[in-house]
């Protein structure tokens, strides 16, 4: 049999998962990775840790130096895929070359979304915060006296703020939303987190948005003026789904995939932040742009591309994020009945529906929180665990001895 030809568009976490998925089934087929970035696969969420000095470009490598060679992967760096032809099964690159494929994975990630702010083109020293090159460019611009304005109080904006705070004069974060981390926290939990961030010296301007920019000032809708030396735009992201859309594939907010990561086009798969896969917490498709899902989606795509049969049907939203040493964990959906356990520095909110845990928000004591996440993912009936105990302590004591025997006495 002729060797299969695999093409992966993208060189991030989902691509690494795809390579490992393919190789778990097919040791011989040729794999070509089309990488718009010039870098060896790196951990994108670490760019804020890089600026904070907690890692460096060497340790940020998501896989070791020998990864491509050991897996027989040819990587085309600094090249973009312009289009692909699902009938002829070819990918056209921006250097004019064409690659034939038997199975294609689109793992093209996402890009920053910059709203059409009036005067944005006049603003000097503006940056996005998505890629390693973004972080390196921002780092070159930072000075001890820089006044930094970050537009967007989501995960990207706030991790950026934490990463640079000690290296600049001041950091102000503004957001149209009236709270921080509005996509993962409710109002009360957001207030707890905001207070912590303010105590560390980050200034907030929430429920306000930029009406227009001059070269070094943001004029807010409220009438306030914010002078800045450096502007970081972290409003949101958009899935890179155009390649599939232009080829006639089904695209919604991301590339629509089934639980095998297959798109609507034959032999074309998609994974990672560009894909809109099944979210088990809401029972429908949604873009879940988090690293663990990117890897698993990529791996599932790879296994199926190589002729195996794998399904990823238990994805849920989840985030673990720390700021200045205090941690926040969230998972699942909040569309249920809420119960709360509160201590001085610690908040736990649990959301239940139909006798199951469907989501939680924990601020502070996050020990063993994965036990909760697993209750959500497995849809464990709460009648089978000691949930009153669980609300206070994430513990294996919440299970019956029989269940514990299975968990700790066998291969899992």
């Amino acid at each position: 049999m002729r060797m299969k030809r695999y093409v992966i568009i993208g060189n991030g976490t989902a691509a690494a998962g795809c390579i490992e998925g393919i190789r778990s089934v097919d040791r011989d087929g040729g794999i070509t990775v089309v990488s718009a970035e010039k870098h060896h696969v790196y951990s994108r969420p670490l760019i804020s840790y890089y600026l904070e000095g907690k890692t460096d470009t060497e340790r940020m490598k998501y896989r070791p130096d020998g990864f491509y060679e050991e897996n027989g992967v040819r990587v085309l760096f600094s090249v973009r895929a312009e289009s692909f032809d699902p009938d002829g099964r070819t990918v056209r690159l921006d250097d004019g070359t064409e690659l034939g494929y038997d199975a294609l994975c689109v793992a093209a990630g996402s890009r920053p979304f910059v709203p059409p702010f009036e005067g944005i083109e006049k603003a000097e020293n503006k940056f996005c915060f998505m890629t390693l090159d973004d972080a390196l460019a921002l780092e070159r611009a930072l000075t001890e006296s820089s006044r930094v304005l970050i537009v967007g109080a989501g995960l990207i904006g706030l991790k950026c703020a934490e990463g640079i705070l000690d290296r600049v004069g001041s950091v102000t974060v503004c957001d149209l939303a009236d709270r921080v981390l509005s996509s993962i926290l409710d109002a009360e939990c957001a207030a707890v987190v905001q207070k912590q961030l303010e105590d560390h010296g980050i200034d907030f301007m929430l429920g306000d948005s930029v009406a227009r920019f001059s070269k070094d000032t943001a004029y807010m809708k409220s009438g306030k003026e914010v002078p800045f030396d450096i502007l970081v735009l972290a409003v949101g992201v958009r899935a890179n789904s155009e390649l599939v859309k232009n080829a006639g594939g089904e695209v919604n907010r991301g590339i629509v995939v089934d639980v095998r990561q297959a798109t609507s086009l034959p032999s074309v798969y998609a994974a990672g932040d560009c894909a809109e896969g099944f979210d088990a917490s809401i029972g429908q498709n949604r873009v879940l742009a988090i690293l663990p899902n990117a890897y698993t989606e990529g791996r599932t795509a790879g296994i199926n591309m190589a002729g195996g049969d794998d399904r990823f049907d238990c994805a849920i939203p989840m985030n673990s994020v720390g700021f200045f040493g205090f941690h926040i964990m969230t998972a699942g959906s909040y569309d249920g009945e809420m119960t709360e356990e509160r201590e001085e520095e610690s908040v736990r909110r649990f959301f239940t529906r139909d006798g199951c845990l469907i989501g939680f928000i924990i601020i502070g004591d996050t020990v063993r929180a994965g036990i909760y996440t697993d209750l959500i993912r497995k849809k464990t009936p709460l009648s089978t665990v000691d949930f009153d105990f669980a609300k206070k302590y994430a513990s294996n004591l919440i299970f019956s001895p029989e269940i514990r025997r299975k968990r700790f006495g066998g291969v899992v």
Binding site: P45, M60, Y62, M318, M329, G409, G410
Partner: protein, 144 residues
């Protein structure tokens, strides 16, 4: 492969496993020098509600969700053993968020630690097992 298994009926809750673990991974020669008057960060933890006690450490899962979830690519599985490269770890705790068993926790410097079966420290096999006075923790082959 051989793994660490616990039998809670036999566990006395003495926490010797925690001390032996911390000592084995300290690199120190002397137990007192390694642990005396120090907060210890063992990779096995006894859970205790006053009635039931048992020790929990990494299950070395067949398909470990921590490996798939680590945002730094710091957790790998090789020859059946799930390991963490603490030099790459940034302490984001995503592994804590996903581990169904509660088997990972930060060490003294904030990077994550987990049971690596003592294969690479001076013990060569799990110190918690060797030191368990009631054979409540065993190291044996029970499949895959």
């Amino acid at each position: 492969m051989k793994r660490v298994y616990v039998n809670e009926e036999w566990c006395l809750g003495c926490r010797l496993c925690e001390y032996n673990c911390a000592f084995a991974n300290s690199g120190a020669r002397d137990l007192a020098a390694a642990l005396k008057d120090r907060k210890i960060f063992p990779r096995i933890r006894v859970e205790d509600d006053g009635k039931i006690t048992f020790a929990v450490s990494c299950r070395h899962c067949v398909d470990p969700i921590c490996v798939r979830s680590c945002i730094a690519g710091a957790i790998t599985k090789k020859d059946g053993v799930v390991k963490i490269d603490r030099n790459k770890c940034v302490g984001c705790l995503t592994c804590v968020l996903v581990c169904p068993y509660g088997a990972l926790a930060p060490g003294e410097n904030g990077t994550m630690q987990k049971c690596e079966l003592c294969l690479e420290n001076v013990c060569g096999e799990p110190a918690c097992v060797a030191g368990c006075p009631n054979r409540a923790i065993v190291y044996e082959e029970r499949g895959e």
